[in-house]
Amino acid sequence: MSQFSYAQIDKTVLDTLRPPSLVYWLIIFLLSLGVMTGAACWAYQTAVGIGAGGQNIPVAWGTYLINFVFWVGIAHSGTLISAILHLFRAGWRNPIARAAETMTVFAVCIAGLFPFIHLGRVWMVYYMLPYPNQRLLWPNFQSPLVFDVIAISTYLIVSILFWYTGLLPDLATVRDTAVGWRKRIFTILSMGWTGSHEQWRHYTRGYLFFAALATPLVISVHSVVSWDFALGIVPGWHSTLFAPYFVAGAIHSGLAMVLTLMIPMRKIFRFEAFINRDVLENIAKTIVFTGLIVGYAYMLEYFLAWYSHNVVEQEAFRWRAVGEYRMEFWVMVVCNTLIPLLFFVKRIRRSVPWLFGISVLINIGMWYERFVIIIGGVAHGFMPHAWGLYAPTGIELGILLGSFCLFFLLFLLFAKHLPSMSMTELKETLGNGGGHGR
């Protein structure tokens, strides 16, 4: 870090904004095809009805809910990195904070799509909004699904504003080097930022409050998501542990996604000097920590199911490990808790290929965790005659593919058009030895 000058930081980041190559547009094209596939599947489902998916009695919540929880989870680590680590003054977060925040914004957007997709008649979604309609009906504010509406939309608004606030000084930097129409666009986007001491004085304070508010928000959002399940009395769902366990799991998956995105990005954009192995190693260490929490939660759930001597509870957990979905269960256990333990070995957590491979496995494991919880809970409830199985249909898989393509597409568009590392914070680390306002 310290071998750089302020100008070199700018140059490294601004170089990424030069006109992209043909390969870039080719990838964009392929991803767009994936998004189209997802959109077509959704259009088909809207035309023929929600039966195009595999949800049925008793499993009425299928991959759409899994994806919803998965993407909200991915979003969480962005806020963790930008807000919580900012409050803890962990300087290693600075080079990755911007990309992680961007990931948050896009992941929340995609997560927010899934409740829409899950609706048979999506145009009725405005029923969820609290406004006096012609019959003076209101949403039931005791319902966890309404909590979701409030929490996710708050999270979306807050993460966009937080992201944009962080971006503001960097937009001014882009403006000051751009020419022509790009200069005009960035002039408007940067709102006349000149970096005068008056602006900084309010900016640093405001940014600190942002971080302080985003931290409880991020915890509450995934708690609310967990309560979609935990507030029911379904065996395997009704557990007081769910909220903190979901938050830890969300951060676990999100950090893995950060690694999955950062490792190719630092290579393509030549960010290796900033996003160096120490940064990656720190992410890996945090993943070990979250992985241990998740493993502890799995263990605790099993122990208390046994301790409770509640037959239904015990059967739910027995079936989870040896029943029809045992493959998913063991993928979850191995990928989320056992494989991250490899990061205890220093050589592995400093080796880029290992980091990348393990991060992908954790992503898969976390997707399956949601599968095990959501599907497994309702598939094997109180009454044996109401047990049933679920498998996603091609339409659902198409939408799943579409969501991943959309995420990577948005991220690629961002990386080439906006500064993907915070120049301001890097300079600040260099000049002051800390993040904003430190």
């Binding site: 915890i219 708690s223 009395i233 557990s239 007081t240 769910f242 502890y296 605790l300």
Partner: protein, 407 residues
Amino acid sequence: MTGPGATHRANAKRRSLIIVASVLVIVGLVSFLIQLSGSHPERAWQAYLINFLLWSAIAQGGLLFSAVMHITKARWSQPLQGLSESFAAFFPISFVLFLLLFLGSDYIFPWVDHDLHGKETWLNLPFLFSRDVTGLLVLYGLGLGYLYYALRLRREQIQPKGRIRSLLLEQWSKDQKDAAWCRSRMSLFSVLYIAAYALVLTLIAFDLVMSMEPHWFSTLFGPYHFVKAFYVGLGALIILASFFRLSQGEKSGLSVSHFHDLGKLFFAFCLLWADFFYCQLLVMWYGNISEEMRYVIQRTMIQPWNTLAWTVFVLCFIIPFVILLGQKVKTKPIVMAVLCSAVLVGIWLEHLLLLGPALNHDVTSVPLGFGDGLISLGFLGLMTIAVAGFLNLFPQAALVEAKGVNG
């Protein structure tokens, strides 16, 4: 230290503190014995259990601060870490106190000699005590191991006086290891200590608190207990740091920013404690399953316990939350010490709230008396002796800033 006179005065002060603490211990012990021989021996054991849980949690959570700061390579916390480590001196006492608990097992475990419908495999006295003793041995062993290497890293600041110090220094000088080696040992022990902290405190919470109502369970109860332990540990650390700051001023090496950061951490754990409390309440309130809600209703919604529940909530959450929203207040040692003491009292009452209804049936008022306070003072004395004794042995190691403790 400025001169022999000052050192002498400081030592005299510490000695008188230890004398006062010893008097407290004797008062506590006597009132415990009086209550034990009276008509309500179970009340004596109840107070004993509450105090054991609270003061052990303070010691466990107090040391956790240093371990966490070490493993996250924190740079701001160094003068506080020595203080945090001094709480580990209570570990041996806590262990003995746990062994003594066995004598009162007939009074404190309501499920003894009850039909538990199959839960006997887990809830039986020999198994309970053997697993908890093992757990505490592991936890305290790892904690003391961490302390050992932390002291070894700062060996230059330890004066070769007295038997223990000379013995340690002699051993260390025989086998010269550099600072990096000590740090890597500290890292190893801090990881293990943190893991053991989570697991063993979960076990303690299940066995000594949750099992009091053998048919009630909550998966978050273990995490709730260890978050609470860190909350009180931080509170006690702030009290100790305030004591040093107020008595030694600038010389203590504790600056305004230390108190500010520690206050923020305390605030964060205040919120987390309340969050974990709320997470349990909400899930049970929605589920409304009789075997779960009974526990909650009895403690928070009907007399006499609901008054106590509100007291706990106000003392441990409302008051600290409102006060700590302000920024300046966190930097005032005296205010923080008073606030943290209030929280510690609140958590004492919270233990009473959790245990009381299971141990006292059909009461019309909260079973809380003068004797409980005296017994608690005895435990306060024990903690004071442990911490002050440790700081007497290693006065320099505690406060003098050792650069690069965390690497």
